[in-house]
Point group: C2
C-alpha cells in the first residue's frame, strides 16, 4: 500500500516505519530530510515549507507508481512532507519503503527522494539570523507558476528581501 | 561519532536516529533488517541470532571506518544488531547514518549493510512451524570456525536437525 501526506504536524519515524511493516518484508529503508544549521555558507535557524497540497500529494503518489514500476518487489511505501516551520534537527520529509530483500528498498528510497526534490511542488524558505530570507523553489517541472505567487506567498508576512534558488542538497 | 552495539534488547528506531542527529546534518538514512515470515519457500515463525560479541562489535567498528574512508562527509553512524529471538516483523539490525547532504548517507547505508552481511560474525537460526531448524551462517570471512561450535551452539537447547546455509538475502 502507498501512503502519502502533506502535513503541518511533526513527522513521526515510528509511525512511518509501522506503515510499511509487513510479515513478508525483510527490509525497511527510511530517508529523513532534516533542517540543518547552514545553507550556502550562512547560518540557518529554521526552514519554512509551503505546498499546494493537492498537487504535492498527487506528485507523491506518482513517485510511488514510478518506484513500483522500477522495483516491483517493493511492498509498502510511505512518504510524508511537513509544511510550516521546521526547526534545525527536525524532519521535513520522511520516505519509508519495505521489500522482501534489501535491494529494492534501498534503491527505491534513493530514487524517491531524488524524484521528490525534482518534481514535487513544495517551497522551502530558509531563515537565518540576519533576517535575510532565501526562497528556494523545490519543484522544477510542475505547473505551479513561479512569478507572482512566490511574491504573494511570503510578502504578506515577511517584508524582507528574498531570491529564488534551485535546490541542490 | 560511531555507535555500535550487539544487544539482547529490542532495537529502537527513535534512539538510533537520535544517535546520528546533529545540527549540521541534512539527511539521515536508516536501514532496518526485519524477520520476515518466509525463507527459501518455508514459513518462518522467528529468527534467533547469536554473536561472538567482542568480535562482532569490532567488525561493526571496522565497517564504520570503511564507510568514513569512502564517504568522508558522513557525520554520525549507529549500527545495532539484536541477539536472541526476533519474532516476525521485529528488527534484527538497524543502521543509521547522517550526512550534510543525502548522497553520503544513502550510499554509506547500502555499503554498511552489504559489509555487515559479508563480514560480521553473527549466526542466524531460522525456525519454522515444522520445527526444522535451519542454521544460517552470516559471516563468510571471519575467524570463528564453523565446525564444532555450530553444533555446540544449538545442540544444547535444540535436539533438532539443522543444516548450514550461506546468507543470500
Amino acid at each position: 500500500m502507498d501512503h502519502v501526506s502533506i502535513t503541518g504536524s511533526p513527522l513521526d519515524i515510528v509511525h512511518m516505519t509501522k506503515l510499511v511493516t509487513s510479515p513478508s518484508s525483510g527490509a525497511i529503508v527510511t530517508f529523513i530530510g532534516i533542517t540543518r544549521d547552514n545553507f550556502e555558507g550562512k547560518k540557518v535557524v529554521q526552514l519554512e515549507y509551503e505546498a499546494y497540497q493537492p498537487m504535492a500529494e498527487l506528485q507523491l503518489k506518482k513517485i510511488c507508481v514510478e518506484v513500483r514500476s522500477k522495483w516491483p518487489s517493493v511492498e509498502h511505501m510511505a512518504i510524508a512532507h511537513r509544511t510550516g516551520l521546521v526547526p534545525v534537527t527536525e524532519a521535513s520529509v520522511i520516505i519509508a519503503i519495505s521489500s522482501p530483500h534489501r535491494g529494492a528498498a534501498l534503491e527505491g528510497a534513493q530514487f524517491a527522494i531524488d524524484q521528490l526534490k525534482a518534481s514535487v511542488p513544495i517551497w522551502k524558505k530558509v531563515s537565518h539570523p540576519a533576517l535575510v530570507v532565501l526562497l528556494e523553489v523545490r519543484q522544477t517541472n510542475c505547473i505551479v507558476p513561479l512569478s507572482g505567487p512566490t511574491d504573494q506567498l511570503f510578502s504578506a508576512t515577511d517584508q524582507l528581501p528574498y531570491f529564488v534558488l534551485s535546490l541542490n542538497n
